[in-house]
Symmetry: C4
Subunit: 311 residues, 4 copies
């Protein structure tokens, strides 16, 4: 959900090149980032919601619970390829919020990310409803319900298991998102053992698959405010009605509030226990980026080096 390289939009403004036209540049950048973030969230959600629709309407003949884990996991991987280096492919307001908290994203970009994610997520819900319209109506006999044997609202938004209290569900969402951000921090920590260059999308995808396998049965692992609320609103409009907000003892606000808290908690835990203790070598300056440049030698750098020493 985090492209591992988050965009730091304040940095370019500090550079002399952009000083003369910051407003235009920012507007373009917002459009550019917003479009990419919308598209990658859309891709992730079409694959994720599609896998749930297939399992629910297929009644076991077209995949099982593991298919859903794979659908969201690989969907996230494809989303990271699509959003990639343009927006960072957060696809998750809890990730964006945590990035802002730890200074990896400008706070003023947060609304851009959240709105783009909501848009992509809403359109994906519409797409999946369109693709599986006949399958859903054939399955439930045209009776769109949130609870019951033939309930179909769970294709779009998450609902808690019958035994789950709101408090336990809140803890479940905090811990699920904490594990997500803790591991995302590790996957992008260049001074530790990060995901291999170019394999970040699949590494992040496997992480989401893993959370589904191990922390998913309580409340279907939303761990993502924007993934959950936009399809919920869609279902409210599309025919499931206000039950999508009433169901589960008013569950709908939990995936909005708990994940950002969990994200900061998990990310902070990794920072406190591992990242803070990395030994800084005096000559490494800004750490991460410097080190990366050390390892791969771009053509121009090489020219300069040769020029420096030879001449």
């Amino acid at each position: 959900m985090d492209s591992v390289q988050s965009v730091e939009l304040e940095v370019p403004q500090k550079k002399g090149v952009n000083i003369t036209k910051p407003r235009v540049w920012l507007k373009n950048e917002v459009v550019r980032v917003g479009l990419a973030e919308s598209l990658c969230t859309y891709v992730m959600m079409v694959f994720g919601l599609g896998s749930v629709a297939q399992v629910v309407t297929g009644q076991g003949a077209f995949g099982q619970y593991l298919s859903i884990n794979l659908g969201f996991g690989l969907g996230v991987a494809m989303g990271v390829h699509v959003g990639g280096t343009v927006s960072g492919a957060h696809m998750n307001a809890a990730v964006s919020f945590t990035m802002c908290t730890f200074g990896r994203l400008a706070w003023k970009m947060l609304p851009v990310y959240v709105c783009s994610q909501l848009l992509g997520s809403f359109l994906a819900a519409g797409t999946i409803y369109g693709v599986y319209y006949e399958a859903i109506h054939d399955y439930c006999g045209g009776n769109l319900t949130v609870t019951g044997v033939k309930a179909t609202a769970g294709i779009f938004a998450t609902y808690p298991a019958p035994y789950l209290s709101l408090l336990a569900g809140f803890i479940d969402q905090v811990i699920g998102t904490a594990m997500l951000l803790l591991c995302l921090m590790a996957l992008s920590d260049q001074k530790n053992k990060p995901a291999a260059m170019g394999s970040e999308p699949i590494a992040v995808g496997l992480l989401v698959l893993l959370i589904g396998i191990s922390l998913g049965s309580n409340s279907s692992y939303a761990i993502n405010p924007t993934r959950d609320i936009a399809p919920r609103v869609f279902t409210a409009i599309a025919g499931w009605g206000a039950d999508v907000f009433r169901s589960g003892n008013g569950w709908w606000w939990v995936p909005l509030v708990a994940p950002p808290i969990g994200g900061v908690l998990g990310g902070g835990l990794y920072k406190a226990l591992v990242e803070m203790h990395h030994q800084t070598l005096p000559e490494q300056g800004q750490g991460k980026n410097e080190k990366l440049e050390d390892e791969s030698i771009p053509l121009e750098k090489l020219k300069n080096i040769c020029a420096d020493v030879c001449v």
Copy 2:
């Protein structure tokens, strides 16, 4: 289905070296590309159709729906290894068509690709019928049918679910192929977050696996005209008869017409929302290839650089 590096056959003809013998060179190139495209399509289809045959005739003892997703997904990955840099391993007329539309393949090469794919796909259907001849006849008691409890035509070509209308099936195929091409464009966009060098085959394979998991239950995700029509013709000849064209309210033309439309739609969407907005740095020239050369320094380039600065 796309080897990520599509062959651009017009380029060599523009180079001086080939000017003197374009006709011979083209003929050889057509044979070379055609053979590779046939073989990789054959490999993909043997693995894909084999996985369906095993699930159908094994009645659950030798794999489930997920096996079929894995069979086609990993089959595509192996096909990309086989066709590789020779033909680009499209293995899908919708991919070839989209590549032509976006100028990545010469239009005159399209018939070569389509015919090679049809040939490979047809031979694979024959191979799988040979390998599973006794299994299929043991399963259905020698009664080769397209519909019914012991139907076996679905091993070779795709058929829609009973609830699916032709219109909904058309939309299903458009959207499935659109997601395929959208993500293929991202996987090969060197200015974004492409598949890591050398891992393209497995990335494309996981994408096809993902489409099977999330967009497969309506009509068995053909998303590929050549994958579908050649085995359908084979079954018509081999004993299933004209029902393979009549079944599903005359379904057979949908996987031929919808995928190319979806492919251009999905590829265009990625181009419009992401690729067009990449900031072109003035010194990057032709973009993609230039950048790649920047990152890996071939021996000869290095010599020249050193020579340039040192001497």
Copy 3:
């Protein structure tokens, strides 16, 4: 479970730089390594135990045996990313013990590793009990038992199959851990075919997944003393009582004693049959590290080379 690069803590003390302040340095290093080892064990165990909890309490609706294999396999992969180059991410006392035996870890660091692993493992058991508290009590009706139809102690620690004798279980654990260490040695042997640079976490994760698939049904493949005893103690305290030690004919000591023996056996087998026979080239000096530096050229080395030859 082994980060493939084990920390060799005696080496820095031999270097002149650290001679003046070895005690302070060591204390800091112990804290640094201990925190990372605790956190990565915690991460691995939360994902692993979570996947078991989900399968047991979900009664088949939220995953099957394969989910547990994936949970521990990918959990180990994420743990290696988290512990990474700081502690080496052993997460397993049998791995630490084998590393000490073969001189890849100082013996005095063994207690630090074991205690950190016990702490992480215990806290993970607590976390999973918290997250699945309502699910577990809903499943077993509040009756926490070690044996019987609704037994839940197996979520946390391992218990043998009914048919298994203590001797056979001991052999099972010796061979399981031997296969683990044999393959870990191969995955990190730079003179053979090691895991690709950066892909070590997923390679080790697939190895653990594989052991679960092939050597797991006898006694749930603990192959790890610290993974097993800490959650067992937790369940003894949390309400399952002394049965967790009595069950399986007093099984609890087997996962403590057998894995270290198996680890040394398997690691030794690889060394005796493969590693010892590598042909040492005279100019390679210390082998592994030298060779690695040859392949990637850091910026400073390049400067020196250019300076050496040019000036």
Copy 4:
């Protein structure tokens, strides 16, 4: 099953360095290669047979058919890591035979490979019988049979499906092994789209997984003489008796004879349709190795280059 880099044992003898002591060197080399080939075959077979034992004796509670595919697939991957660059990790007499046919292995090394594979395979069968001794006897009530509801001989060697004739089984094994070698050739063809450097083991493992998913239900995809005959002999001795040779209408010789034929067929097909048509550039000399050296610049080469141009 093929480490992608097969050892070419005749080459060193041609070099001046080894001329003085070829006999001693060869003897050592035979021991070195034989030990590695035995160990990697052992590792592959322990994981593979273990996964079958678990599925059979677990009666569905510890994995399904897919587990067996994963067990052999990932087992092959680990075997390639273990045998690696020492023996090439064929682990399959059909692979060794094909390599000899295409001149990638000296014919006089074939007996060394086959004997090592037989030894490793036999010991693995013994190990798995030891580990699952109580499970197998608990499952079948101490009655070791080759056919029937509680048959257990299929844990060790392959047997055809009831419907399969010997001729169809022969074709099944020829085609299965042909697909294996065809794809192995592609995975190691440096002029096409080979497996990424370092990812060969997992690529080969996925290929074997894929064959199990798509070409496995007829006769359990032996596609390997040494994998099949050694465990069959073991079971004949260990208590299953002569039925292991009588069963399936005398099936035992098919996995011995068909795979080498299939291997040469598949490898030859790839060579004829793809490899032979690669355009050789005049300056590339020996092709593969030359090209590889171009891409990664070793330290010493760099020194020489700089020295050449600067001085």
